[in-house]
Point group: none
Chain length 387, copies 2
């Protein structure tokens, strides 16, 4: 009988034991390992002490079919993982090194043996760790082969509705489909629904996931992000490119965050012309042509100013579509009528426009991120609805 | 002889092993335990499996003077911590229960014995966990008494130099001061040096940290971030405000990322007027007044264009200082003379200006983040040097 695969994650670094750094690697790895069918049985966080690391690696290899370590690989004297791994494997040679596309230290892979699980040694910086883990997935699948559990999952990205409102409607619908679980994964851009089916054939899993997706389709439709990646920016740039339209943005409270997100995607220049960050009233007047009277009468954070900013961006860049956003990110600057978190945003296309006001909860960063997301979603919905 | 206190943190919950929840309790506890002198030796994350939890508690109590568990105390069937603790302590009665001001489950405290460390059992929800830990601190101090260590640390932020170049110069200087350790903590904005002294009186620790800081002062000076927080944006806005200067930026490859970072700080509007994201050549011409001939002759990614963009930002916003940045973030768009990662950035103040070209490694995100950081640092240095 093949033993079902299970993993142990070891996270290494004195800074973690001092509480100076929150460990995001463990949760990321746990999620990915569950997804490829080698769920995590336990995780351990260790300091940069070679003896201690070596002991933990040996014990983990005796317990689990796969051990993944992160951290402690840097060039400095306080990085002890390689020394510890050499002690743990008793001088065995590394079976393969996977080059690091985002840094210096490669990943190291040791094949499993009769009495020890496979060992994958990864660097600690999350960008490097994630890229190298993905590069190692093929190797993990080959080596653990039949031991891997079958896990099929499908993610449906939503935006514009909190978990607390989404879950009570969705949960009973999914509970009605035997064998499907749903998890709600919220972040500042929205809530991802993850549907999971375990230990079924691929065809059966696919049938169950289809059934669950159908069951919740009507409920999620108003909030669903249409891009396959679940990324609103991808959905928006696809929608713009399909119509041959270009975009310019006028930002105040987000300070450049919308432009930053749009241009994070390679090829953004095909539809994105640019933006104005009009942090001062003077810039709203001179660069975006927001009328002084409108600013005076309604205040900088108002729907008329947001609309005038969107129009100003379209004019300044000669674009087809525009976004205007102005708000109070806090912690200062709120008033009884316009408390911190009040944000006005306007979207315009050649076919029409829309302007709304939201009141966001949370700190400055949360308000700014949610605002940028809401502005992008508003333009996307306007385009999708033919506006 | 009193054994010096060390702690082990056990975090319990299936959701953590599935990567559904990022564990913030461990880092919080690690920080607090280090601060009260019972630093964490290792941390472990376990599922809701009574046998496994009991084994981990027993092992941890044998190793450490204090064991803290969080999670698995709820009312549902999958919460197994209490059952596991009863197995681990072999029927011993709890010594004290501390009532929960923010929830139902109290904290449970078991005094240390000759062969087992103290045990503190806390619920998992962070608001409840933190309140109950604070309520237990007096008990921890009394029980561990003389074993508690003193730990003092100081962080020095640097930017513009990689860990691999910084560490070989810094390490031997710190090694020369007995009792001081140094750790190097890199991210995309720079490398933090953390100096740590353990098991000394406060006065002695302070003297040693001063000595270490003096020893490395000359070496880190060119790269040191002057702001107390180590944040370049804070240092730059402080420098601008001290001189009564304002700032405007002209961004291309960073797409708004510089504006976004500057405005992430509350109160940015005191010195930041705004920016232009000139993603297209048309925008560079019309909004920033970059001469068409300069664009044609040198190309969009060139020092003359970066300088003209900085000047254009100063003109457009009427600011005292300007930043211009243009580059190739990739993955497309590189050429043999100007490969991906080539970025030109200009800074100007009323007293002068500077323009440089860097070639950054890494993917699109890394190039963009490092570019934004380098542009901010360049202006800060120019101001600090009186330029």
């Amino acid at each position: 009988v093949t033993r079902l695969a299970r993993s142990i994650v070891l996270t290494i670094g004195d800074e973690l034991l001092l509480g100076r750094t929150t460990d995001s690697n463990s949760a990321w790895l746990a999620d990915r390992l569950a997804a490829i069918g080698a769920p995590v049985a336990r995780m351990e966080t260790l300091g940069d002490v070679a003896d201690q690391i070596a002991g933990a690696v040996r014990r983990a290899q005796a317990e689990a079919s796969l051990v993944v370590t992160t951290g402690g690989l840097g060039p400095t004297a306080d990085d002890r993982t390689l020394e510890a791994v050499r002690m743990a494997v008793g001088g065995r040679e590394v079976d393969i090194e996977i080059p690091n596309p985002r840094g210096v230290e490669p990943a190291r892979w040791y094949e499993p043996s009769d009495d020890a699980g496979a060992l994958l040694v990864l660097p600690g910086p999350p960008r490097e760790m994630t890229a190298l883990f993905e590069a190692a997935v093929g190797r993990i699948r080959t080596s653990l082969a039949d031991g891997l559990r079958s896990v099929s999952a499908r993610t449906i990205a939503t935006t514009g509705i909190p978990e607390s409102r989404l879950a009570p409607d969705i949960q009973p619908l999914v509970d009605g489909i035997d064998g499907v679980e749903v998890a709600f994964l919220p972040d500042l851009h929205g809530v991802d629904l993850r549907l999971t089916v375990r230990d079924r054939t691929e065809a059966e899993a696919s049938r169950l996931l289809d059934a669950a997706e159908s069951a919740i389709a009507d409920t999620v439709r108003p909030f669903r992000v249409s891009a396959p990646s679940g990324d609103v920016v991808e959905a928006l740039t696809d929608a713009l490119e399909a119509r041959g339209w270009t975009l310019a943005v006028a930002e105040s409270c987000t300070g450049g965050g919308i432009g930053e997100r749009v241009t994070a995607r390679a090829g953004a220049s095909r539809s994105f012309l640019g933006g104005v960050v009009a942090y001062s009233n003077g810039a709203k007047l001179s660069l975006l042509g927001v009328p002084g009277l409108v600013l005076e009468e309604h205040g900088a954070v108002s729907e008329p100013v947001a609309s005038a900013m969107a129009d100003g961006a379209v004019r300044a860049f000669g674009s087809d579509c525009g976004i205007g956003i102005t708000g109070i990110a806090g912690p200062e600057g709120g008033s009884p009528e316009k408390p911190v978190g009040t944000v006005c945003f306007a979207a315009s296309t050649p076919a029409g426009g829309v302007v709304t006001t939201h009141r966001f909860r949370g700190d400055r960063e949360a308000v700014r991120r949610r605002s940028a997301q809401a502005a992008l979603v508003q333009l996307l919905r306007l385009i999708e609805e033919g506006g």
